[in-house]
């Protein structure tokens, strides 16, 4: 993917009247379907210029919340504010939405389709044409401008889908599982684009269950469970505050040298070596005991991974 300075591009490409921005705030969203509660007073705030991960078990209201932000579903209670004011339909023209189940008009030609979406978001014919050219070039799909979408490879369809979301130079991106179905190269391209957009001041919110990925590219995450927030914060801070674990790998030892040292999990990594993880033990004590027992091959203090934080947050 060709990477061009985004700030420079936006200066020429951003349609007038789109300068408004500010935090996106979901306040007390409630939504039920019959007896199922999808959202139960969901509140969180996303600052502009951040990549924001929106996590939670499947069927836990993430899609509902995103649809409410995009105005294609109404909450039973609560509001969405943007830059301090209640979000309006006109504001949402500066938003981009990529639903989890992707789809475009399969018989349309790529450029026609992008231009159509740009115009629906309020760009003039001229602005739409310029935006199409810019994004086709930027995502490296200029050569397929006049191909029908149904004739494209899976990878190119994914790129067109991304271009379709970005063609009107949105201030806020709302992406539902943007990484699902992408190959590693596609994931890298997508992550790059999201990072660059955030650096250029765009608000990026996406849901995902690929937690390693979220850990790598998100500045901030919110984890919801049963329709309400259970954990929120900057990824770095969450990891630092989470309980760190101590990992040792010791060779040629008696089987239970670690007894009585706090919560421990042991696994044999090869016939002669055992890896033991402690959650709340004194490192000095553990190290002394291990050295007495055998040869220490690895000694590390590990921050919790996002997966661990997630499991702790939504666990039973």
């Amino acid at each position: 993917m060709v990477s061009v300075s985004l700030a420079a591009e936006r200066a020429g490409g951003c349609p007038p009247g789109r300068v408004r921005s500010g935090p996106l705030k979901l306040a007390g969203l409630r939504r039920r379907y019959g007896r199922t509660v999808a959202l139960d007073g969901l509140s969180f705030t996303v600052e502009p210029g951040r990549v924001f991960g929106f996590l939670g078990p499947n069927g836990d209201g993430k899609t509902t919340a995103m649809r409410i932000v995009m105005g294609i579903e109404r909450p039973d209670e609560g509001v969405v504010r943007w830059g301090g004011r209640v979000l309006t339909r006109a504001d949402r023209l500066a938003f981009a939405y990529m639903p989890e189940q992707r789809g475009l008009y399969s018989k349309m030609r790529v450029r026609d389709h992008l231009a159509y979406l740009a115009r629906l978001h309020g760009l003039t014919t001229g602005q739409a044409a310029a935006a199409c050219d810019r994004w086709l070039r930027r995502l490296g799909i200029g050569v397929i401008s006049y191909a029908r979408i149904e004739a494209l490879s899976h990878g190119n369809q994914q790129r067109v889908q991304l271009a379709a979301a970005l063609v009107h130079d949105p201030r806020v991106l709302v992406l539902d599982e943007p990484f699902s179905g992408l190959d590693p190269l596609g994931i890298k391209d997508m992550a790059e684009v999201l990072r660059e957009l955030a650096q250029a001041g765009v608000t990026v919110v996406f849901s995902s269950h690929q937690l390693d990925l979220v850990e790598d590219i998100c500045d901030e995450v919110v984890i919801i469970d049963r329709g309400t927030v259970v954990l929120q914060g900057a990824v770095r801070a969450l990891k630092q505050h989470g309980s760190a674990s101590l990992v040792l790998e010791v060779e040629g030892v008696e089987s239970d040298w670690y007894g009585g040292l706090g919560t421990a999990a042991a696994e044999r990594v090869d016939p002669n070596r055992v890896r033991v993880t402690f959650h709340d033990a004194d490192p000095q004590v553990v190290l002394d005991r291990a050295r007495a027992a055998g040869m220490v091959r690895r000694f590390a203090i590990q921050e919790p991974s996002l997966s661990e934080l997630f499991l702790q947050a939504v666990g039973p």
Partner: protein, 391 residues
């Protein structure tokens, strides 16, 4: 962005994308070809207009026979081409080869081919046979030969109509018959387009992206207007082609023809407006392309019912059916042109039926628009009629 410009954008996409599709052009060509064939083929086969009867005479025929054959043929809406044939054998051969329609064989009487003889030729043969018999009687009664033709084919007495026959009535019937078929096919076909278009958006999920920028009603309005414009264009092309075909085969279009065609176009628009929102709601109510026939079935059935009712109205344009159905909105588009053009409608009937239709359309569009908006983002689950209609 205003609703109007959004609707224009959506409608523009429909017109461009569908106008470019092969399916549209194949359908248009098939319809044009069909209409032209219906007009041109019968005219070329001589089913309509001036029929020329090929009449051969063998041997001595009674004086004045020619003038009675001419008036007999005229009574059947044609004219004879009479020529003398050398021998009976030659005449039989010509009859067999369909060069002649019938042969008057002096004293032996009238000869026709027999098998596959046209009804009008059979009618002419029996008229001519009766003339021959009358002439023979008159001759036997000793009447002078020169007085016989005047007696056999006199100037007929006037026939007056109790209910005046409007000029060009036959042409009106043809216009109504053909127009109603095209109207019926068009409303059903464009309705089907609306359903499949809505379903295409829904099943590909592109609708979620579109609806994050556009109100459901604007998307719906743009879609039905776009397809309606294409339909109107196709309808107009069919009418122009039909008129050119009719004129080129020598059919005389009465002065009332443009009015008749205008009335059919008006009812096409009313019919499409009435049905399109229901077709859209049907598309929104199903989740997959396979579900479409179930939800569209009742609608196309209703349109077919209207067409069948129209056949009844065409054969009896002043009957009870013809008086009532123009005020039954689902049937009105197909039956009202027949009632107005062929029957003797009171002046208030047309505006009244249009008014009833407009009120019903307003109600249906509101109901169907609501059903569409509610169902367009609802995926999965079985479609029930109650689900579609629930306010």
């Amino acid at each position: 962005m205003s609703s109007a410009s959004t609707i224009r954008l959506v409608a523009g996409r429909e017109v461009r994308e569908r106008g470019r599709s092969k399916a549209f052009w194949i359908g248009t060509c098939a319809l044009l070809f069909g209409v032209i064939a219906v007009i041109v083929v019968p005219a070329k086969l001589g089913q309509h207009g001036q029929r020329t009867f090929q009449v051969g005479t063998v041997g001595a025929v009674p004086g004045g026979l020619a003038s009675s054959v001419i008036s007999d043929a005229a009574a059947l809406g044609g004219r004879p081409d009479i020529r003398a044939i050398g021998s009976g054998t030659q005449a039989r051969a010509a009859l067999d080869a369909r060069i002649l329609d019938l042969v008057i064989d002096g004293q032996a009487g009238v000869l026709v081919r027999g098998e596959n003889t046209d009804q009008s030729v059979a009618d002419l043969a029996s008229l001519v046979a009766r003339d021959l018999a009358v002439q023979a009687r008159l001759q036997a009664a000793g009447l002078p030969a020169e007085r016989i033709p005047g007696l056999v084919s006199p100037v007929p007495a006037a026939v007056r109509s109790l209910i005046p026959v409007s000029p060009g009535n036959e042409t009106s019937k043809a216009i109504v018959a053909l127009g109603t078929i095209v109207l019926y096919l068009s409303v059903a076909a464009y309705g089907g387009w609306v359903t499949s278009g809505v379903l295409e958006e829904k099943s590909s999920r592109v609708v979620e992206v579109i609806l994050s920028a556009v109100r459901p009603r604007a998307l719906l309005a743009g879609k039905v207007i776009g397809i309606g414009l294409l339909g109107l264009g196709q309808f107009a092309a069919v009418i122009v082609a039909g008129m050119i075909a009719a004129i080129s085969v020598g059919r005389h279009l009465p002065p009332s023809a443009p009015g008749a065609i205008g009335l059919i176009v008006l009812w096409f628009l009313l019919g499409y407006a009435f049905y399109c929102s229901a077709f859209a709601a049907a598309g929104a109510a199903s989740s997959r392309q396979e579900g479409a026939p179930t939800v569209v079935g009742p609608l196309t059935g209703l349109i077919l019912l209207g067409y069948l009712a129209s056949l009844g109205v065409q054969s009896n344009p002043d009957g009870v059916l013809a008086r009532i159905t123009p005020f039954v909105p689902p049937l009105a588009p197909m039956v009202t042109p027949a009632r107005m053009l062929l029957g003797h409608a009171e002046p208030w009937e047309l505006p009244a039926s249009v008014a009833v239709m407009l009120v019903a359309t307003y109600g249906l569009v509101r109901l169907a628009g609501r059903a569409y908006s509610r169902n367009i983002l609802r995926f999965g689950g079985r479609v029930t009629l109650r689900g579609v209609l629930r306010p």
